[in-house]
Amino acid sequence: MLDLSPDWGVILTHFAPELILVIGALGLLSYDLYVRGKDGLQPWITLGVLLAAALATGWLYTMDPAEVFEGRSAGEVFRSGAFLSDSFTHFFRLMSVLTAGLVTLSGIAYMRGKTAFKGEFYAFVLFAALAMNLMAGANDLIVIALGIEFLSLVSYILTGYIREDRLSIEGGLKYFLYGSITSAAMLFGLTYLYGIAGSTSLPVIAEAVRQPENLVVTHLSTFIVPAALFLVLAGIGFKVAIAPFHQWSPDAYQGAPTPVTAFLSVGPKAAGFAVMMRLFITVFGTPELSATWLGVLGALAGLTMILGNVAALTQSDVKRMMAYSSIAQAGYMLVGIAAFGGTALMGTTPLGAVLFFILAYLFTNLGAFAVIIAVDRLTGSSSVSAFAGLSKRSPFLAIALTIFFLSLIGIPPLSGFFGKFAVFGAAVASDMFGLAVVGVLTGVVSAVYYFQIVKTMYFGDPAEGGALRPSPGVVFVVATALVMTLIIGLVPQPFIEIANQAVTALEPIAGSMVAR
C-alpha cells in the first residue's frame, strides 16, 4: 500500500521532469502577465523548459536504480507507488517532450498574431506534456483518471483556442461534449475495478483479479471485469481516437489551430496507449485474463484500420484527412497490443513493436504536420487545392511531405515501414493473420488518399505563383523529422533496442511481486 512516510528526496528525484514542467508552465504564465502584447520570449522559454525536462529524463534513464532508491529494492518502490518512474515512463516522457518541442517550434510563426493569449498557449503546451507524463507513469486508478482528465481539459482549450474562428470553437465544443461522455463512462468502469478489488492501486487490483475468491465483491466478477474494461477502453479509445470512439476527431482536427492538430495527432495518442498498455498488460495481462479483452481489442483494431483508411478517401481538407489517417495509424498500434500474447520476430516483442511504431510515427506525423502548418499559414487554407503545385512553390516542403506520406504508407526503407513490419510481424506471430491482412490491404487503400496530395503537389499547377518561404522553425522541424524518418528506417536497430528496453517494465504482475 501507499507508503505514508515517503522519502522526499526519492520522490523529488523521480518527479524531476514533471516538476520542471510544472514550474516552467507556472513561470511562463507569470512571465506572460508582465510582457502583455509584446512579441516575447515565450516559445523560447517553453523550449528551454522542455529541454530541461528532457535532460532530467535522460539523467533518470542513466541513473543506477540502487542509488536512487537508497537501499530499498526497486520492486518495492516500483510496485507500490501511485506513480512509477520506470523505463516505460521514461520512454513516454521523452515522447511527450519531443512532441511538445516539435509542435512549439513549428507553431511559432503560425500562432503569431492569431490570438491575444500568447503566453497561455505555450503554457498549455507544457501542461499537456505534463499530463502525458502523468498518464505514462500512472500506477493508480486515481492518477489514471486525473491524468486523462488533465490532458483532455488542456486539449479542449487548445482546440478552441482561436475564439475568433467559428470552426475552432465548434471543434473544441464537440471535443468537449464527446469527451465528457466518454470520461464518465471511463470513470464508471474505474469504479467497478475499485469496487471489486477494494483499492485503486493497480498492483492490488492485479493481485485481486488473480485470486477471484478474495475479491471484495465475488459474485458478478466474471462479467464485471470485462464490462469495466470495456468502459475504460471507451475512455482511452476516445483519447487515442480508435473506432468507434473517434467521431470527435475530424471536426476537432479541422477546427483546431494547425499546431494543435499536430499535437492532437501524436500526444494524446502516445499517452493513451501508454495508459492502455500499463493497465491492460500489467493488471490483466495473464493468459487467462487477457482472453477477456484481446478479442475485443483485435476487432476494434480491424474496425479502426478499415474505417480510418476508407473515410480518409473522400476528404477534401488535408487536416481532416490527416484526422482519419491518424485514426488508421492508431489501428495499427492497436494491432501490436492485440497481438501481445505472442512472441514477435527474434529479439523484439509485440509491445516493443508498438513503442517503436509510436516513435517512428511521432517524427513522421509531426514532420507532415509541420509542412501542413507552413502551407496553411502561407496560403491561408488547408484544403487539398492549397497544395497544388507545391513542388514548384517550395520543392523542399513538397519532397519532405512526399517522404512523410511514403513513410505513413509503409514504403521501405522509411521509418513507418519498419513500424508496420514490427506490428504486423507480431500479429503474424500470434496467428492473427486476418488482422495482418486487413492491415496491409488498408495500407494500400491509404496510398490512394496520401497520393491524392502528392499528385496535387507534383502534377497540379499552383493556383497562384510565387515561392513559399516556410519559417525557420518549420524548416528545422521538417528537417529533423526527415532525418529521423530516414535514420529510423535505415538504422532501426538502436531504436528497436530503446523500445524493447522500455517495455521490460511492462511484464504482467505476478502475484508474489506485489508489495503489500
Binding site: 505514508l4 512516510s5 522526499w8 507556472l26 504564465l29 507569470s30 502577465l33 459474485h219
Partner: protein
C-alpha cells in the same frame, strides 16, 4: 446473493408507486376550472414583466466561476488542518511546506486572474 437486495427493491417500488398514485389522484380527482387569471405566472396577482429568460451580463458568470474555483480549493485546507499534528510528527517542516506550495499556486492563479483583468467590472 441478489435476494439480499430484495427489501431495497420493495422500498424503491413503494416510493415510486406512491408518487405516481398521488399524481394520478390529483390529476383525475381534483377539480379543474382554468381562468386567465389562474394561468398567469404569479397567482398573487402581480403581472409578469418581460420574458421569463432574462439575460444576465456574462460578468456574473465569470465572477461566479472564479468564486467557486477558489472556494473549492479552500476546502482542502480543512483535512490538512485536522491532520496537521500527526503530519508534523511524520514529516517535520515538509507538512507546512506542502501546504505552502499549494497556497502559492493558488495565489499565482489569483494574481493571474487579477492581472488578466477578469476582476475588472467595466
Amino acid at each position: 446473493m441478489l435476494a439480499a437486495f430484495a427489501p431495497l427493491a420493495v422500498l424503491a417500488a413503494i416510493a415510486i408507486g406512491l408518487g405516481l398514485i398521488i399524481l394520478a389522484f390529483s390529476f383525475y380527482i381534483g377539480p379543474r376550472d382554468p381562468s386567465p387569471v389562474k394561468s398567469q405566472t404569479y397567482e398573487s396577482g402581480m403581472t409578469a414583466l418581460g420574458p421569463a429568460q432574462r439575460r444576465v451580463p456574462v460578468r456574473f458568470y465569470l465572477i461566479a466561476t472564479l468564486f467557486i474555483l477558489f472556494d473549492i480549493e479552500v476546502i482542502y485546507l480543512y483535512p490538512w488542518a485536522v491532520q496537521y499534528r500527526s503530519l508534523v510528527a511524520e514529516q517535520g517542516w515538509g507538512a507546512l511546506a506542502s501546504m505552502g506550495v499549494f497556497i502559492g499556486v493558488l495565489v499565482l492563479g489569483f494574481v493571474h486572474v487579477w492581472r488578466k483583468g477578469a476582476l475588472d467590472w467595466d
